[in-house]
Amino acid sequence: MQRDRALNHLKAIRREVSQLTVRESSWGALEPDDRIGYRAEWDNTLDRFSAVVQAYGDQRLDQDIATQLIDVARILADFTPSLVRMQLRQPSADDLRRLGILSAA
């Protein structure tokens, strides 16, 4: 994965996560179409996260980007309760384990 692409993906994930708290506060009041659209887009956002994790696993990331990735993964893990409440996809346990966020056990 190119450096620029990985950074763009991480930036997009940070942006989405930064809006989760506000979005959750109005989640129930949104039109169903807006929730459907957001879930679909969030699903794609997590695919981008997985793509960067894959590059990390293949040792194709520079160290500074790897550090950013782990930071983003920690933030994502912290938001798990919100993701559950909003019925949004959560980062995969395999991805988090690969980054050392979850223990192998």
Binding site: R5, N8, P32, D33, A40, E41, D47
Partner: protein, 158 residues
Amino acid sequence: MVARSPEEDRAFIDNLLRRLTTHQRALTRQEIRRLRQYFASRALPEQPTTRVLEKHGKHVEDDLQWPDDTTPDEYLVSLRDTILNPRGGIYLVEPEIELTWTIYFVGPVPYRWRGRHHGHSIVVLFNAERLLWITGFQAEAGEAYVDRQQGFWGHRTH
């Protein structure tokens, strides 16, 4: 070419989608053509609306999935092309959470619409009961993204 009123078109599509979601079968060639025509010409906005501008801002300007200079009108053109692309797929998702069906039109990303960080498929979502456009973006995982949505293919991508 048979001239039909918007009301006749809408009734045909409503009926078709109701039967399709009940029986979860593959679409016929004529049904595929009618669905593509309806969603491209009547359900997708003709001009940039607030929602179009919001999605353009997110997927074109922020995520750079489309070329940097893609305008909101061109973004709509790319979605319309995807809906009408005979090589594209049509997928319907069961209403597990929101209790309303969603229809996906899925197609390859033409070179013209490949931004610096493009995905591997363009997906265009509509509410299949209200027949309203929801969003359109480029899926990182391509067709695999659609495949795991726990719905069924009315027409598989070629």
